[in-house]
Symmetry: C2
Subunit: 112 residues, 2 copies
DNA sequence: AAATAATATGTCAGATTTGACATATTGTCA
DNA sequence: TGACAATATGTCAAATCTGACATATTATTT
């Protein structure tokens, strides 16, 4: 298994870099390869929602702390959400958007 | 705080029943009230995806076991996903849809 | 520039979600 | 009907996500 790292590098160096730069784990072959099908699409989807969240919050002129209070979370977690940190779930992103007044429709638009 | 249960019942008896019947926790006042704004919308959204998943899978003529293998999960979890069990996350639903070949667009359509 | 506000990053114990398993129920076909 | 396949339900230890906190970095005001 000493070639796996190199195999990865040959395969899709750029995408790997892009993901690593965001903090996603791409260490082992399985991890990265397991990501390659619907995996990067999933991350893109999360990123779409992250951006929508930041946009919505700013539009409402609310600070991260205020949003955190609304959803009973913390400023640091809100920051992570908006930065697309891999530790935040889709659930939390969607709940936060809904708390900001988003609708199913507006969320669908943010995704599509 | 001995009135909280009754307060809930007065407030929205029907919605509470509907959620309880699906297995969602509505025991305490906070839990249910905390749900009432974006909460039921969130559940509806999950339900939309649950149904989309079941539909897609059947359209592809694959069994829950086969889908489970594709996403490296188990038949029982797939069943829970399609039943809208509260223990399944949006993340897992979306990942499963993507594994079935869904796109951001088709997911957005399923939601909206 | 210095103070202040807002956002970002790292860490971690507690909470939630997970795959796996056993088992029950339902559907299908001979 | 009975055998067999598919789906549903319950449980649980392990994995992942969470809020909270400390602290760093980056705007914004004064």
């Amino acid at each position: 298994m000493q070639m796996s790292e190199e195999a990865i590098n040959k395969m899709d160096k750029k995408k790997k870099k892009a993901l690593e730069s965001k903090g996603y784990k791409t260490g082992s072959a399985e991890d990265f390869l397991g990501l390659s099908k619907g995996g990067s699409e999933f991350i893109e989807l999360k990123l779409s929602l992250s951006q929508a969240l930041a946009k919505q919050r700013k539009q409402k002129k609310i600070t991260q702390i205020q949003l955190a209070e609304m959803i009973k979370s913390s400023q640091s977690r809100v920051a992570k959400m908006e930065k697309g940190d891999p530790s935040v779930s889709l659930d939390l992103l969607v709940k936060s958007l809904l708390a900001l007044g988003a609708t199913q429709k507006s969320i669908a638009e943010a995704i599509g």
